[in-house]
Symmetry: C2
Subunit: 331 residues, 2 copies
């Protein structure tokens, strides 16, 4: 099924304890679409400036990403973000943000894009997310991402946007802040009460969780001995999640669970190198192998019935052989 | 198989955002043995003062815990700890510590205790752990816990203690500090290189991981909508882990994986109420039900072979239908 993503396309300058890049391809829609391209045909809606070289368009197209709706502002500059990660790679420190052409971004969907069956509304203003949502009336599954800025400054619009989608895909801090609830389980439940059928909560190195009204599913992260650059990991996760769903005939619980694994797999590759570098040269064989590894390191055998029977003694209040004895004196 | 635990027996005063207790039964050996008692016969080695009422001995014995080696110092007072948890229940703030009789604790093992097949060396001085270890020469599986204090003040002794055990059961911050390695995977690997065959890393609300030389296993935590008091959760986990292993004929990878689940299950009950209150009235049926829930919320189906075949296209360098096209001009 066709998959559409709306979000930022950017250049990032990133410094981590392991190295730096002064200017590399980034942005939520970029990370998402490259990741999703391994599973489905992806169309990207975004805006760039005239500094966005043809080699970047070529890169997206080489991955089968349709760039028809990637608008170019001739006299504008592409969104630029500069950030630093210290040894705690969980926290990005923003050093510089130049919104440039992204400041006036108005997503423009071609007729083909409006027929998309799956849509990911990347982290942009909630009112823009709603405008896009209104245009994709054929969509079977729409998900959105957001961030603390919109939770703090545009809560009513964000709430309405959430009411209109099938899933939210956010990190755990955002879920707690959005739901105004420190407990993650209750936070997810509150978000589901607003309308979506699924809440996907990303927990970085601790894994991810999928909440629906009827069920709960949680996975650890893929074990990595070195994380090089976490930039774009969340969008790469979303790309694997939505991309896999777009490849499925039915978007049910089983498909969403597998999509969680593929999202985690894609994110695990993303953080191994700077920006999109690792994902750019990823192969399907590598993806499938890491999926199988997930099965291996999360699998456990259910306890045999005999064991359960042996443990479940008839009278729990009198199960101990010494229960009837008087307390003995201490030595 | 018989299971021995050496550790603290204490009274705790705890305050959380949800309530307080001025004096409740606590200590590592207490939490461990009550938890393990649901799976195996447990012997406890510890020390208390004359203020340790017979009702507490009776409680342990009612759970089948053998208290023969629980020494009572007639003119002494039991170890006392007072702590507070704020809304971040992951961090305990110690307000008061009275070591009392625990300051001079010298574990004394009866002949019966020295024949134990499984041993848990709770968080005490590493030299004491080594003395106990030397006395249980029949043991098939010995695990130890430790804490930042010993990592900082007794590293050489702790290192030797670790060389002499089969498993370490510690939390993630301790693992990183112990191995002097911020990445958890590498930290666990370094610890294993010192001798143990297993490293069990507890991650609180994020779950737990089991590392051996050949394998890796990770699980999320049981999803709880409210955590009341985390005191003793780590020892309760260790009790479920070691207790279940003591009930197994063979301590292999499959058994250790199930033991991880039982450890998590026991810890999830422990934090639902103050101190040992919830575990005291737990039933085997409740434990088994939560074990089955773990299977339900971590299970995913492996991708059908056809799907893998479809995704794994023959030539990864030319997999996209538009790959051969020239980059299109931007609109």
């Amino acid at each position: 099924m066709s998959l559409l993503v709306v979000g930022s396309v950017a250049f990032d300058a990133v410094e981590t304890p392991f190295g730096k890049r002064d200017r590399m391809l980034g942005g939520s829609a970029t990370h998402f679409s490259l990741s999703a391209s391994f599973f489905a045909e992806v169309r990207i809606v975004g805006v760039v400036g005239s500094d966005f070289g043809a080699e970047n368009i070529a890169l997206l197209q080489r991955h089968g990403v349709d760039t028809t709706d990637l608008e170019c502002i001739a006299d504008g500059k592409t969104f630029f973000w500069r950030g630093r990660y210290d040894y705690d790679l969980n926290t990005a420190h923003t050093l510089e943000t130049q919104l440039n052409v992204f400041a006036d971004f108005k997503p423009k969907l071609s007729a083909e894009s409006r027929r998309a069956r799956l849509v990911f509304l990347g982290n942009i203003q909630p009112e823009l997310q709603r405008e896009v949502r209104a245009q994709v009336s054929d969509a079977r599954f729409v998900a959105l991402d957001t961030m603390n800025l919109w939770i703090e400054t545009a809560r009513p619009a964000l709430r309405r946007a959430i009411e209109e989608v099938d899933a939210v895909i956010i990190n755990d801090a955002e879920a707690r802040q959005l739901a105004e609830e420190p407990n993650l389980i209750r936070a997810a439940r509150r978000i589901l009460s607003w309308g979506p059928r699924a809440a996907v909560i990303k927990r970085g190195e601790y894994g991810a969780a999928l909440f629906t009204r009827e069920s709960y599913f949680a996975i650890p992260a893929y074990p990595l001995e070195s994380v090089f650059d976490p930039t774009g990991a969340g969008d790469t996760f979303a790309g694997g999640f939505m991309g896999y769903l777009a490849s499925c005939e039915k978007i049910d619980e089983a498909a969403m669970r597998r999509a969680m694994i593929f999202g985690s797999v894609m994110a695990s590759f993303n953080v191994e190198e700077f920006g999109t570098e690792r994902v750019q040269r990823l192969t399907h064989a590598e993806i499938n192998e890491r999926f199988r590894e997930f099965k291996r390191f999360t699998h456990f055998e259910e306890i045999p019935f005999e064991r359960i029977a042996r443990l479940a003694m008839p009278d729990e209040s009198d199960r101990s052989p010494v229960a009837a004895k008087e307390p003995t004196a201490l030595n």
